[in-house]
Symmetry: C2
Subunit: 297 residues, 2 copies
């Protein structure tokens, strides 16, 4: 593959465009991992898979305690991995939680999960990005619609669509506390966005996205075709979604926090190259450039 | 009743307080109107009633056309009844839609609805306030938790709890386009809020509430007791909720607008007096001081 060919240009044309996907969605088969072929077909068709209970309660309890420690630390700490809400100092996200050897790191390298990643992505994988989104009660703000891949391609240099996110609920994800919404089938299209990317854009964009934002007409079209889904579930539930599945979430005025872990798995054959937007790459804590395959835990 | 006694002081104490309600919720009986006693008991207990289909499809179609005309007019018009979103010029609400003799006015005076109002409020009623909240797709912002009564009491001089709102869906109200959420049972308590009220507060508060905001601890307590409900339904569905029921709604990033009519019925025996907050009353389009009973249509 010639890495210099940009199969997914974005933020270059004066008008948005709905283009075709050039990559498979599922790279493996039912024989190469834990997911049965019905799940693989569903994932291929819809661009996501929901798990009612990926993790047992006891594990969730431990992860929740770790989450509380992370929240307490992030409150006062000054660290590049801590992202605050757009109009307050409240912590919105903490990135790179898979580093080190804590609970989150062990979870990210857990064989049950890595097995699914290797199956879907067709071979060895590494973690491109990880984070916790806290979305606290009362004040948690929305995450507007976006395809992760659009940003990862333009700003990080991810060449092809061969990655996915796993979002694990550490608190109950209810219809009303701003659950993750996906547009089923949207992963089969690519919304080329309008606008250029300012240098060091990520510092603002992790708080509130302003570039790489899909246009309303494309979103209307995608929803008309595929509808909307918002898989909800108890803490321990999870959603696995393709890197190009259009997703977002509403605000959360309920008292009930919606705190989720996101771990992004990428194929080692899809390691980052120079960003297609032409800027310098975003820092390691947002997008690692080290594609060493995960060693199974 | 001595109108000068403030049974529901708010925005005066240095700390928020959860107080008791001193008024009935249902003033009539099953004999005095269209609602059966099971509905009245449910309303008394929960502080709201949901109707799957208050209006038939043909009526909804006509009202939707009227809504589109209102939206088109409000786009450019300069009128005090038009309220725009807090950080854009997009129309958030239009008030006083029950005036005149258009479709909305006829709906507000419709015998089916007024009959319920007279039953619940125990006698003749008038319309205290009416509005359309558009909550357009993509950009519709949240309405934070509030008890309407708190504001109507402090800023308008509504003496007692003897009013309710009817919210009628003119577009489908889905779990994910920012439906009205209520805290069941919250109408039996009164959350006295903290903070004073600036003069002419309404101009900002109709865009985004900053005074008369309930504290988080009280909200946590109310939700722990009563949970959360968000009745959804097709266009034509409705929610009738007590003036003191704590309610709010999240933002709406979906392409699907959540446009609702709100009509507030108040008992003529509960007509406005001088505002309990001590300021000059808000203007007629937000809170009429003319308590002439509705003539049945």
């Amino acid at each position: 593959m010639d890495m210099m060919t940009d199969l997914y240009p974005s933020r270059v044309a004066p008008r948005p465009e709905l283009r075709a996907r050039h990559d498979p969605v599922v790279y493996g088969t039912a024989e190469t991992g834990p997911l049965p072929s019905a799940s693989l077909s569903r994932y291929e068709r819809n661009g996501y898979l929901a798990f009612d209970q990926l993790l047992p309660e006891s594990e969730v309890r431990d992860l929740r305690a770790e989450l509380d420690r992370l929240w307490a630390w992030a409150g006062d700490a000054k660290d590049e991995t801590i992202i605050r809400e757009p109009s307050s100092q409240e912590v919105r996200s903490v990135f790179a939680i898979h580093r080190g050897d804590g609970l989150f790191a062990r979870l990210a390298a857990d064989r049950r999960i890595v097995g699914m990643a290797e199956q879907i992505l067709g071979g060895p994988v590494y973690i491109h990005q990880s984070r916790v989104n806290f979305k606290k009660g009362f004040t948690g703000k929305e995450f507007y619609w976006h395809s992760d891949f659009e940003t990862w391609h333009v700003e990080d240099g991810m060449p092809r669509m061969r990655a996915f996110s796993l979002s694990i609920a550490l608190t109950d994800n209810l219809p009303h506390n701003g659950p993750l919404m996906v547009i089923p089938g949207s992963h089969r299209r690519y919304v080329a966005c309008v606008g250029t990317t300012p240098e060091d854009h990520y510092k603002a964009s992790l708080r509130r996205q302003e570039y790489g934002v899909p246009d309303e007409e494309s979103l209307v079209g995608l929803v008309a075709e595929g509808g909307l889904a918002a898989p909800t579930g108890k803490a321990g539930a999870a959603v696995l979604f393709d890197c190009n599945t259009m997703h977002g979430s509403n605000s959360n005025i309920t008292p009930l926090p919606r705190s989720n872990i996101f771990i992004v798995y990428n194929s080692v054959e899809n390691a980052l190259v120079a960003p297609f937007g032409g800027h310098k790459p975003r820092p390691e804590f947002v997008a690692t450039r080290n594609a060493t395959p995960l060693t199974a835990a």
